[in-house]
Assembly symmetry: C2
Homo-oligomer: 203 residues x 2
Amino acid sequence: MATEAARPAERRRRGRGRRPAAEVRADVLAAAGELLLREGMTAFTIERVAEAACASKTTIYKWWPSKGALALDGYFHAVETTLAFPDTGDLEADLTAQLGAFVHLLAETPAGRVIAELIGQAQTDPELATALLTRYSGPRRALAVAAMERARERGELRDDVDLEAVVDQLWGACYHRLLLPNLPVTPEFAAQLVRNLLHGLRP
Amino acid sequence: MATEAARPAERRRRGRGRRPAAEVRADVLAAAGELLLREGMTAFTIERVAEAACASKTTIYKWWPSKGALALDGYFHAVETTLAFPDTGDLEADLTAQLGAFVHLLAETPAGRVIAELIGQAQTDPELATALLTRYSGPRRALAVAAMERARERGELRDDVDLEAVVDQLWGACYHRLLLPNLPVTPEFAAQLVRNLLHGLRP
């Protein structure tokens, strides 16, 4: 709580309202991501984000139409660095590393429960569903496809492979275990997903 | 409503309470599955299942500890025939046929929304989550692994493949698109999932 209390005060010293718009936006996104990962979706409110970022609710509503939209943008912002795609020129190593970071995030940090609850709530909340598709899963899917397209240009993937389906078979397989946890989400599981797909299952 | 009203009356003619326990249980399961697929989870109550199956609530609670447990068993019962695993001796054809039936169920019948809402609600309802894992996703996972083990005994799959991970990469990939519908769940998608895995993605 000490760090949270200190943040607005520090920002007030710099002068409320004097930050450029881009900086306010970045502060709001960072505050939203921190609050979400620290306390989960049930504790997440526009009021608390506004207070933590020293921004007005009016300003926040100018950029984000709903609490869900802000939560999803905050979540994307918070996990973006962790989920960056390495590009060493070896697709199997790169995918294993990226999926390893992803399963760590899902299984070993609060992010797993947060995204599971957001996906869960989106099944009966159309506004949240739209925010989830346009602000999180759509952009993350595009980043994954772009990374695999670079590998295809290097000749590491067949031309006729549907890369969108591969997204469902790697990251989607992890979400499946997160949402239906009959078995654990582990780094070994992530590595096996990559091996299965790249090498195929036939003898 | 006409068929629903007729059902208990017909059962009353056969004599309430005279059915053997196994028959009552089967009637309750059938009524639960029908109600769920016709009207969804929000309209699903133990009272309505009891009325439709001409059984007492006490009898139902003897076998099912909660509404969620009954819903999941009813759902499993309702989709079991549709999702049976063919075993023609050609794994690629069998998987494509079974996944084709699965995506049809998800995309073209009310079952897709029902299971999406059940998975969604389970993220914040521990009792429903337990029912979902033990009464639906666990048993369906076991059936899929058993079907693939038969194929492995015929020499169609490598010995070192983790068949549990394959479940996540086929059926889990479909659930991913169901729950995060950035792209549609189609028969072509199902066929592509099988091809990607069996043949691998490398040139």
